[in-house]
Amino acid sequence: MAMNCNPKDEVDGGPPCAPGGAAKTRRPDNTAFKQQRLPAWQPILTAGTVLPTFFIVGLIFIPIGIGIFVTSNNIREIEIDYTGTEPSSPCNKCLSSNVTPCVCTINFTLEKAFEGNVFMYYGLSNFYQNHRRYVKSRDDSQLNGDPRALVNPSKECEPYRRNEDLPIAPCGAIANSMFNDTLELFLITNDSDPTPKPILLQRKGIAWWTDKHVKFRNPPGEGTLEERFKGTTKPVNWPKPVYMLDSEDDNNGFINEDLIVWMRTAALPTFRKLYRLIERTDDLHPTLPAGQYYLNITYNYPVHSFDGRKRMILSTISWMGGKNPFLGIAYITVGSISFLLGVVLLVINHKYRNSSNTADTMAF
């Protein structure tokens, strides 16, 4: 770092430079930066500064926690397991594969009305959507409508890449194992009227906006969707090809929202995925009034082979999402601990100060 000299000096082995051209003063600049006197704010963590912080954190966190907890508790949520492994379950009959299609019905009661928009989820357990072999078994460019990838899917899709020499669209293990139970919801208005009233389930608006409009696209071209998917075949486990997933064009093919939701692989082996929306009709009537309902299931999706469970969840939503007691409890706990420690530290600090004061007096 011979600043006044040829840089050769700073590297070993270089011959020295001739001094010269350094007649001007070499007094270092007296700037705050160079003299390391930059003004700095340092959070000095002493009892004096931290104790109030602890109290403040406690005082802020506890109300937030309570707020979250109350909000979370106000959320209505009902979970119905329809795996059917128990012999008493109506869906028990569907476990054997010889009944096709197998339809079973489960009755349930809502004690309280569900207000606002209600969301219908399906939940799977012990299903490793986050297994690496599974996660990578897809072709994003095919799903994005790339014509070349459509007929020649990525190698990552193996062994769900080709079926009888035709490329699979959409390829890969994820798409192949798409959830295909059909869930329908009926309200039994009163006991006298036996005809149940079907609840309108919205199929659209359940996927991320970015997925629906950016990541997923149907292959380009003229003609019907079927023509555009020409030269491909359906995934092995699917009953219908991809262009027949829905009757509406803006929810068919790769941009079918059920497909999109399924393709976003879950983080943990027990997960929920949004299935349908039940929109609020008007302010006067609750979306789902309290009462008797029955759930009509077309049972297609086998989970017992890997010890999995299937559930249907109905949930309302607050500003902070679905029912989640964890966050509220955590906030309350941390806030309380912070507050408590504040108290403890205050005591310790006080005691120390006293004892050292006495030490002072004794010393003198």
Partner: protein, 1085 residues
Amino acid sequence: CAGEEKRVGTRTVFVGNRPLSETETYVAQRFCDNRIVSSKYTLWNFLPKNLFEQFRRIANFYFLIIFLVQVTVDTPTSPVTSGLPLFFVITVTAIKQGYEDWLRHRADNEVNKSTVYIIENAKRVKKESEKIKVGDVVEVQADETFPCDLILLSSCTTDGTCYVTTASLDGESNCKTYYAVRDTIALCTAESIDSLRAAIECEQPQPDLYKFVGRINIYSNSLEAVARSLGPENLLLKGATLKNTKKIYGVAVYTGMETKMALNYQGKSQKRSAVEKSINAFLIVYLFILLTKAAVCTTLKYIWQSTPYNDEPWYNQKTQKERETFKVLKMFTDFLSFMVLFNFIIPVSMYVTVEMQKFLGSFFISWDKDFYDEEINEGALVNTSDLNEELGQVDYVFTDKTGTLTENSMEFIECCIDGHKYRSETQEVDGLSQTDGPLTFFDKADKNREELFLRALCLCHTVETKTNDAVDGATEPAELTYVSSSPDEIALVKGAKKFGFTFLGNRNGLMRVENQRKEVEEYELLHTLNFDAVRRRMSVIVKTPGGDILLFCKGADSAVFPRVHNHEIELTKAHVERNAMDGYRTLCVAFKEIAPDDYERIDRQLIEAKMALQDREEKLEKVFDDIETNMNLIGATSVEDKLQDQAAETIEALHAAGLKVWVLTGDKMETAKSTCYACRLFQTSTELLELTTKTIEESERKEDRLHELLIEYRKKLLHEFPKSARSLKKAWTDHQEYGLIIDGSTLSLILNSSQDSRSNNYKNIFLQICMKCTAVLCCRMAPLQKAQIVRMVKNLKGSPITLSIGDGANDVSMILESHVGIGIKGKEGRQAARNSDYSVPKFKHLKKLLLAHGHLYYVRIAHLVQYFFYKNLCFILPQFLYQFFCGFSQQPLYDAAYLTMYNICFTSLPILAYSLLEQHIHIDTLTSDPRLYMKISGNAMLQLGPFLYWTFLAAFEGAVFFFGTYFLFHTASLEENGKVYGNWTFGTIVFTVLVFTVTLKPFLKQQRMYFIFAQMLSSVSTWLAVILLIFISLFPEILLIVLKNVRRRSARRNLNCRRASDSLSTRPSVRPLLLRTFSDDSNVL
């Protein structure tokens, strides 16, 4: 091209590359060309060579392996994730090294392509410098630098001398005179020089700048060859500059990489800091963690997979190929995959960041205005930035005395002639001198003796005069300035001037002296018997105007007393010893008349010795020894060397900081001791243990006596300090302090004792004693002994960090030997500063350099290193935990982009800024309270304890990140529109919390990220969770710090009051210094 085997033996150079005579055939010898190559790389070998050197680093090599594994095996992350950071790191380093090398190339070219003039066939030929061959006759003009090592043949002056400044070689800016051989002086035109037939025999190139042995054989007209000796005074070194001489002719003897300059700047070994060793240790720990993790995961994976539906459920089937691979091979690749997945636990960019931190951080030293010295108009200089943090780790300080602790500006104080004391008039103000004031000034000694003494002072030296205006050559005394490599001599000549004898300079081999009666006396200088550190004396042989031949000798008392008639010693000896105790440097002056026939013999011997090609030094020494006997002592001089400004405060501060300060000096014991008292190295209360020739009487039983003393001292010390060395530092404040004095001859007795086993034993006892002493003074040290001591301490148990500080060429060896070498830009030239790692103008600057800069650098680098490991463990732990929830399938938690950029972008810059600017304690506090330095001694912040602390914090935080998010994901949805998150969102949340926390850790700042964010940002509960998790993870550390602070404050309070009570009772007030010195010595002498 200079192989080691070539360094022995001699070489013959034919001047002008011409055969000596027609009869002899000229055989061209092969020598190096005159190209200087200081660059490491060429355009072609840069890439392979640089890559090879970079991959020799453990971390780089590790990442290369990981990268290769990723390329070959099916791994969870793409090769880009480790390839890109590696590429980045390698590129940055390569660019830095390439740039440095380009600068070297440019500088080389500048030197190699410069034009020089060569005499060929009586004509001046213009050539590029690199074309010079050995044997070429080169013409050099005034103010040009010599293109290679030349033997001076002739110059434009009539006496064949030229003036040269070697400022760029050793920093001495004074002009030195070089001489041509008598027989070639006249050849000062191109034609005449072409007629010269001569051959030069000289030794093969040696790196020593001040040694040269050679002989020139001149063949004039078929007569017998005339042989003349050549010494360093005939050799013009490459890199030096010609001054005050119009032009010279010289013949090239060493060229290119064989020049003394090139030899000197090679092979400076790289010093590595102790922090790097810690880093490597941590790397190994983390590597172990990594392997454990990978092994655990692989095992658990196969246990988990033993359930068939876990191994291959219907929705997630294996390919045919996967089913067919062997299980063992599969397990192996799985293991590798896990390793790749967790490989980021080893911080790839750490080396680059550490290097950048060191490089940039070292600017603060050269920018510090406190290190700026008005007098020399310079500040501190950093030669190596690798050792910044080592400044905060020093255990032992070795300091030179003269020029380091003292000013090295000599002042003539008094002299004694035949035991009568003479004081310089300027010193009258001093209370002591009033009794023998100017009235009693001249009637003490015989007038003749007085004049003889003063003449001796005027003649016996190597001082040169420099008249400020050389044009008229007037000898106006006012314009006379003296130049010499030794400030003592100047002080003596000036002292003689005060008493009326003025040295006017050399002219044609005549020394001119103006005596008290304003008459000019001329003495012919016959021989100079040079000073060297071993002989510790110098002599001149002159011929008086009356034709008598006199030898004047001056030297250290120990060197002179044995060589004079005994009866003369007593009076002078008392005087010398008293002066030495006052801290003055004393020299004795003696003379001897030489009979003409004796002189002839001496002359012959001297010339013979000077002509010798082999062992010239030894031969000369022997001749000198013979000559300098039976002299008559005339008197002694004393010269004062003032202590440097704040030297005492600095030493006290270093002591208080727990450093052991050793003074290594070539000076006399008494002088050195009094200096040590003056600079408070020894306190009044210090009990001195002496191991000197005085305490060990000159006898055959030397070794036994030494042994007895050693044992005795050890007993004493062990009794005093029964505890371990660790508590020693604390003990210093309360216990009796011990100081050790040892001199050169005793040290060599200890180190090179006759019986091997015994000497080893001595050495051990000696070291034990040394370690228990607060201060050690080693006097009468030869330069090499200084280095020996440093090496000895360096190899002690626990390998303490040593620092050497010195200013002269004799300190270079210890500066190079110690861990950190500090040069003082002093009066004895710049050699020490050049060879040092840091150079400062004054000794007092050491205080701030160590206590403030060193402390800060150490804390910074320690934090930097710990933080790097911490943040990467934090980063990888969630990834590890995630494996338990994804079926051990090596599914990465983070997106590839995050994996790649985490170390490069997201987290490296804030910590770099932090590690450059952090001041956990204000600089002023650090300098004013030296005890703070003890806190970080012994690499305290990079020990296992702090490392585990950081590691556990990292583990805790990583777990909080992961499980916090895990519980958060147990809900249906986190968004108010009910939509659901996937696995990548999980990773991104963890990553966000991670980056925030890791960045908040050193200071409160924010970092931004991208993409999946858009979705996440809209969720309120995600944000709440982020805040919560950050708080939880930082919580325990805040708590710990607070608890620690509470404790420390109360501890400090206790300490304060205890110290307050102490200071009332035990602290001694500052004692009158000299008084103390006398009383102390009385019981030793």
